[in-house]
């Protein structure tokens, strides 16, 4: 048993590599050999994790992944616990259907991070994803619970169809952000293209945002400026074309 399992990308995939087997709670009970033998899909063909990654450590729920992972998809999919730290940028479907645990990406993420699988009614149902960079389109789609933080700019359709949960967008976000939001919060420090079906409510200092941002500082060491912690936010209720119990909180200054 070791404290951390480290997966280092040894062979760069030529095609997209679906590695949804990499989830700390599932790796926690496996030896190094068993981890290396886990199945992945490379360009639609079955291969093993060991064909691409060098595995160090075993039987740990703290997993670290290193290398250029932009072609690697579905990391942390459906994971329910543990910690996944990714040193670099990752491909699409990061934390797809996440149920618990923490994913910390030290780079950008592709489309549909924390989102839902094709045809799935729900995206992530718990856990936390921190993306220290830009995120692709439809980040947090149909999330039911949990937290997604994007320190860079998020793509179009971010938070589309959110059922609940929290999205923190430190940079801007593309058009359609929050469309079909039922409940849940989208906290934005920068400009976002708000759907017309959101209605302005008030400008205030939401107490839970201060709590949340202080938590992000403490837990993840994120450099959240004090002006965002103590600042005022415009509250827009929506999506009024849906349940309308959600909100976009847009920072407007001290």
């Amino acid at each position: 048993m070791s404290a951390t399992i480290t997966l280092s990308l040894a062979t760069r995939p030529e095609h997209s590599l679906v590695a949804d087997c990499i989830a700390p709670d599932r790796l926690a009970g496996l030896t190094g050999e068993e981890i290396a033998a886990l199945p992945v899909l490379h360009g639609g063909r079955v291969a093993t994790l060991g064909d691409f990654f060098q595995v160090r450590g075993e039987r740990a729920s703290d997993v670290r992944i290193e290398g250029d992972l932009t072609q690697v998809e579905a990391l942390g999919a459906r994971m329910a616990g543990g910690a996944l730290t990714i040193e670099g940028s990752v491909g699409r479907d990061l934390g797809l259907g996440l149920a618990g645990g923490r994913i910390d990406v030290r780079g950008a993420a592709g489309d549909n991070a924390g989102g839902a699988g094709p045809g799935a009614a729900r995206g992530m149902t718990g856990g936390e994803i921190v993306i220290r960079g830009n995120a692709g389109a439809e980040t947090g789609t149909r999330m039911r619970r949990g937290l997604v933080v994007v320190t860079g700019v998020a793509g179009e359709g971010t938070g589309k169809g959110m059922i609940a949960g929290t999205l923190v967008l430190c940079g801007g976000a593309g058009p359609g952000t929050g469309r079909f939001l039922k409940r849940g919060s989208i906290v934005a420090f920068g400009d976002i293209e708000r759907p017309a079906t959101f209605r302005y409510a008030c400008t205030y200092r939401p107490p839970h945002v201060a709590l949340l941002l202080r938590y992000l500082r403490t837990r993840y060491g994120l450099d959240v400026p004090e002006r965002h912690v103590t600042g005022r936010y415009e509250r827009y209720s929506g999506d009024l074309a849906e349940l309308g119990k959600g909100e976009i909180l847009r920072w407007v200054g001290q």
């Binding site: 409940r183 008030c202 107490p207 839970h208 202080r214």
Partner: protein
């Protein structure tokens, strides 16, 4: 924990919350401000106060706490309310009960594994933790200051309270931390009463009752303290008794109640040793 925009608003809420909570005999609970909290020590980074609540049994605590929080902290501008005992397994659903004030417009947030309720109010939003920790505490710690006159007794009591204030795990539930009307269990004359004046320590009754007052004592004040555990109470008593040893103080003793007040006995000589 109660936090607010300023220490003054946090104190305003805490004082109302802990009002009329001096003795479980008459108030059904004992409560007080434990200590002031700096902004760096609170979950939302605002100044605050921590408050302790004690009841005779677990069943009475939710009734007291929920009603009081709803009428005092919820109503007070800028406040938020957080659990000060997050690691305690026994949980009391306080925010979960108060959330219905939001009339369906309330919303919850899970932050760092803790659920909070956001209750919309006219000012903005009231934020409160879903559950609060509940643990066994120690009530009824006390000592009596026996002095030559009322002025000396009051000066000693004030010094003791100053030394015992802002200590973690301890509250002084009486006004200014001091009791002038210590009681005995039951009544000599009125059988329905559960507590009546402590005639053995009342100077004006020295000649007509079995007095326990030494010669030269003309005024007695009592300090009552409750706490999270016996060591916290002992430490506070040690500091308080030492501070109370001022000119005019003839003796310091404690209400023993035949050793029947509870399982914790605080022997003053041992505490000061």
């Amino acid at each position: 924990m109660i936090t607010a925009r300023t220490p003054a608003w946090a104190r305003a809420a805490a004082l109302k919350l802990t009002g009329f909570a001096t003795s479980v005999i008459g108030c059904k609970c004992e409560a007080g401000i434990e200590c002031e909290l700096a902004a760096r020590d609170t979950p939302d980074g605002r100044p605050g106060l921590s408050v302790l609540f004690l009841t005779m049994d677990k069943a009475s605590l939710p009734e007291q706490l929920i009603v009081r929080l709803g009428q005092t902290v919820l109503t007070c501008p800028t406040t938020a309310c957080f659990d000060g005992l997050p690691e305690v397994p026994d949980r009391l659903a306080v925010g979960k009960a108060l959330r219905v004030f939001g009339d369906g417009f309330q919303a919850s947030k899970l932050i760092g594994g803790t659920r909070y309720w956001r209750i919309p109010v006219m000012e903005g939003e009231f934020l409160i933790g879903e559950t609060f920790g509940m643990q066994k505490g120690v009530g009824g710690g006390n000592f009596l200051i026996l002095a030559a006159d009322a002025d000396a007794a009051l000066a000693a009591a004030e010094a003791a309270v100053a030394a015992m204030t802002n200590r973690p795990g301890v509250i002084l539930p009486f006004p200014g931390g001091v009791v002038r009307s210590g009681s005995k269990v039951g009544s000599r004359r009125y059988k329905s009463l559960v507590a009546t004046t402590n005639d053995a320590f009342a100077p004006t009754l020295r000649a007509v009752t079995t007095s326990e007052l030494p010669d030269g004592v003309n005024s007695v004040l009592e300090i009552v303290l409750d706490g999270t555990d016996a060591p916290s109470i002992e430490a506070a008593m040690r500091a308080g008794i030492r501070a109370a040893c001022l000119p005019g103080v003839q003796a310091i003793t404690a209400g023993n109640y035949g050793g029947k007040l509870g399982p914790h006995h605080f022997h003053l000589h041992k505490i000061l040793a």
